[in-house]
Symmetry: C2
Subunit: 135 residues, 2 copies
DNA sequence: CCGGTTTTGACAACCATTTTCATTTACGCG
DNA sequence: CGCGTAAATGAAAATGGTTGTCAAAACCGG
């Protein structure tokens, strides 16, 4: 029912890290695809709803999406320079979150965990550092 | 140099959980304070920069702020219903993040961890559940 | 009181995201 | 095959939080 949605998904699959909706849209247009921004957004939301892609928010509030290797619950280690992403699993963290939650009487516990860093290649390629405001 | 900034800080201090900028602004105006939205934003940013308040983004991209009990690094357990917040420390998680990062050759590692749940009181007070899209 | 700097705030500008709504496409059915 | 309804699409407008602009107001030292 939607080759557009598949097209969007395809773009994500062939991308390394997280891409923004606008970004995906721009690339598709650049490739000559006839698609509207609205449709890209809708496709991305649908994909996210069905768990085919991961979503997360950048610091400036933009939503970024990425095709996931697995449908399982996992977290990301993202290079703040090039956006390269590594999927990581952390059973310990899952358990920790659950525990902390229950200890305080919370139920239906979910959590978000994202790790940011500078990957090896980017660290080597000397570029102006973005001074982290706080540890 | 800014009793406005202190005023903003005060609002946060007397609040239970995280508040949005618009929210803080509305409350201050309601209390009769003569302050502009712009100033509230600036105060909030300044406070965040100096580490006096914590910032995090809600799922819909809104920034929310909260006066922190401690200036130390910590995470939050937030009730998705009433917004009540508990500050939690998780040395294990910090270490885990560091480890995962280094294992993949990443440096300058930072991370975000937020736990969401429904607190005891809210769980009791039956309200329509917000179906979580994914676990 | 004066010049200079900082802070403030009304308002416009931004920009990602959403909504609206009319058009197009897909498809089942007679 | 032709028609009708429903789903999909996309251009443009609306939203809404946040940021930028800029002139007026508050401060400050002299």
């Amino acid at each position: 029912m939607s080759n557009r949605r598949d097209a969007v998904h395809a773009i994500l699959r062939q991308s390394e890290g997280f891409r923004s909706a606008q970004d995906v849209y721009a690339e598709m247009r650049a490739e000559g695809a006839k698609i509207g921004l609205t449709t890209v957004y809708r496709a991305l939301q649908a994909l996210a709803d069905t768990g085919h892609v991961d979503v997360l928010r950048t610091d400036d509030g933009e939503s970024v999406y990425r095709a996931c290797a697995s449908g399982d619950h996992h977290h990301h280690l993202v290079c703040r320079r090039c956006g390269r992403t590594v999927e990581v699993a952390g059973p310990a963290v899952e358990r920790w979150a659950e525990t902390i939650g229950s200890e305080h009487g919370f139920t239906e516990i979910t959590h978000t965990v994202e790790i940011f860093g500078t990957c090896g290649s980017c660290a080597t390629a000397a570029k102006p550092l973005r001074t982290p405001s706080r540890a």
